[in-house]
């Protein structure tokens, strides 16, 4: 204390302290609500960006209805305009490109996706190159599908055989959760021409129905499942 006192008394009034302040020292006249006011603007900039990115833009999205009803004759392109499926009329197309609404970058084989919904039912289609049969694909999808994970109550029933409209065989496994019910169906289209190479393309359709789903839509679901077909352009030309 003696040293401090003598130093203090030795300093003329108004002179700066001879002691360097700690680096994080915040002078009283630089504080706002206890914070260093010099640190306010960077924090406010970050906070503003966070509010816009995390709340404002998503709120705008939430305010816009997804109204994209399927009309008669609509066909979804699942790849190269050769792998297609026909969604049921009045269902809502939330993902997937219609044949007559192709964009600049076309849907290529092995990359097509689609999602159609009807109130309490979703019909989600995924395609990819797949080296194996429909049963192996079914097992794989049951292993990895996030959507099933959220409803599944470890009650996947035995798989059954199905065929599409062209007679291509597939597999279907129903499952029952605590509330929702649904199924996964798979097809594998063999020797598909992908950029000149003969490859197999797998298709999975994951259908989930909430308890409020109306049974009248069951026919729609079956029709959509059977409508997943592959018609190579070259073959049509040959036929023509």
């Amino acid at each position: 204390m003696t040293t401090t006192e003598s130093t203090t008394t030795a300093e003329p009034p108004g002179e700066a302290s001879p002691w360097p302040p700690p680096d994080d020292w915040v002078p009283v006249d630089e504080r706002v609500l206890g914070f260093d006011k010099r640190t306010l603007w960077p924090g406010l900039v970050v906070l503003a960006v966070w509010a816009i990115f995390v709340h404002v833009v998503p709120a705008i999205n939430d305010a816009i209805e997804f109204d994209n009803p399927i009309e008669s004759g609509d066909v979804v392109d699942l790849g190269n305009e050769e792998l297609t499926f026909v969604p049921s009329v009045d269902w809502n197309l939330e993902d997937g490109v219609l044949l007559d609404e192709e964009g600049i970058v076309p849907v290529t084989l092995g990359n097509g996706t689609a999602l159609v919904t009807e109130e309490a039912i979703s019909f989600d289609v995924l395609t990819s190159l797949w080296d194996g049969d429909a049963e192996a694909l079914l097992d794989q999808v049951l292993d990895i599908d996030d959507a099933i994970e959220t409803v599944i109550a470890a009650d996947v029933q035995d798989s059954i055989d199905i065929v599409n409209a062209d007679g291509v065989p597939g597999k279907l496994a129903p499952f029952r959760g605590t509330e929702e019910v649904g199924f996964v169906a798979t097809y594998v289209f063999e020797d598909v021409n992908v950029n000149g190479a003969e490859l197999d393309v797998g298709v999975s359709a994951t259908v989930i129905a909430e308890p409020t789903a109306d049974e009248e839509f069951a026919d729609d679901v079956v029709a959509m499942l059977q409508s997943i077909t592959y018609h190579p352009t070259a073959a049509e030309e040959d036929r023509g």
């Binding site: 209805e65 997804f66 995924l126 797949w130």
Partner: protein, 390 residues
């Protein structure tokens, strides 16, 4: 504010003291600052980002363990290689390690999962709802990322200015902070791409590996370069005690990054869906252009950093510890430095010159860390230069 402990006794030492004080070189950063508002906002966004990261990867860890592991391992190696390059670029008054780490984590966790991902997903949906799904598929990458990602990554420099304003004194400082933030964004995003490619491929690892390969080749001139330019531009825009504002240049650099990013993300639809080979060649050419722009801006930011190095070391020239030529070489461009080393003659002499320059660099760092005081470490660093000569 701190003061320099060594009293300036002549103009050389006074210039050194001013250079150290104004550059923030050797400044010890304390990250936990309860009175710092930016610290709390930063912590909040970090926590939000980390939670979202867990939600993104957590449920997939079991089903997609192979592609996630492959992505993490590969892009860690890739990230370390680019981090090494960034460290080499930060050759004058270097950014402290914990600020580099902060910038890196900001880009990887806060910017990616705390900010950009929310904006991007909402914009994708808005585009699909208002412009149609085909339009969304074609343009979603070009119309979301250039705005959201450049801003989110670029905030790294704002955060660092908030928690350690003394560190951001030159455009080079912004450049390095941005490079680390962008690098982390890139690395984390690449792992997400590997995961998404695998998800789209029924969990097979082949599509994930393809995505990793493409991202590796095309990612070299990626996010880290753009964000470096953006953050350097921000420093030019606001100015610092060492860097007078150059607002026009700053705005140009900050606008260039989203425009460049738009051209990159929109290349496929902009070019009318060219063949894969043509697209790849175009992107490789564009990568080279980006790299050239990156190097040009980096060089443009250097003069204040070089001047600081010169001011710190000039008293050593006056005292005969190093020569004028050695100081000139130390603050010169790479080619000039190499020429200086080659001019030494034989292999041993060239090695000596290289070591002397490196040791002089160490000395400058010690002097700055000691705030110009004559400490044992400074004396040791000086003795090391002498030892390299013998």
């Amino acid at each position: 504010m701190s003061t320099i402990t060594t009293p300036p006794t002549d103009t050389g030492l006074a210039a050194r003291a001013r250079a150290i004080d104004s550059s923030g070189w050797g400044y010890k950063v304390k990250l936990v600052q309860p009175r710092n508002f930016t610290f709390w906002v930063m912590t909040f966004v970090f926590v939000a980002g980390a939670l979202n990261l867990v939600l993104e990867f957590g449920p997939n860890l079991e089903a997609y363990s192979t592609p996630i592991t492959q992505g993490v391992v590969w892009f860690t190696v890739y990230g370390l290689a680019i981090a090494w390059i960034i460290n080499r670029l930060d050759r004058y008054s270097p950014i402290p390690g914990r600020i580099r780490l902060l910038a890196f984590l900001w880009g990887g966790v806060a910017a990616t999962f705390g900010l950009a991902i929310h904006y991007n997903q909402a914009i994708f949906a808005i585009l699909a709802k208002t412009q149609g799904i085909s339009f969304k598929n074609d343009w979603r990458a070009a119309l979301s990322a250039p705005i959201s990602e450049e801003i989110a990554k670029g905030l790294a420099v704002v955060v660092v200015i908030g928690v350690a304003p003394r560190i951001v004194r030159t455009a080079t400082d912004g450049f390095i902070i941005g490079a680390f933030s962008g690098l982390a964004f890139q690395v984390f995003e690449d792992v997400i791409y590997v995961l998404q490619a695998s998800q789209a491929g029924f969990g097979q690892s082949g599509p994930g590996l393809n995505a990793a390969l493409t991202r590796t080749i095309l990612g070299f001139s990626g996010h880290w370069m753009w964000t470096a330019i953006f953050c350097a531009g921000f420093v030019y825009l606001i100015g610092t005690p060492l860097q007078p504002p150059r607002r026009g240049l700053g705005i140009l650099m900050m606008l260039l990054t989203p425009v460049g990013h738009f051209l990159w993300n929109g290349a496929q639809p902009l070019l009318g869906n060219p063949s894969q080979d043509a697209l790849m060649l175009t992107m490789l050419g564009y990568s080279a252009v980006i790299a050239v722009i990156f190097v040009a801006f980096y060089r443009m930011t250097l003069p204040p950093e070089r001047q600081t190095m010169r001011d710190v070391l000039q008293p050593e020239v006056d005292a005969g510890v190093i020569t004028d030529d050695e100081l000139d070489a130390l603050v010169a461009r790479y080619r000039v430095r190499r020429k200086f080393i080659k001019a030494a003659g034989g292999h041993a002499e060239r090695r000596t010159r290289r070591h002397v320059l490196e040791a002089t660099h160490d000395l400058a760092d010690r002097i700055a860390t000691a705030r110009g005081a004559e400490t044992g470490e400074v004396r040791h660093a000086r003795a090391e230069i002498e030892r390299m000569r013998t």
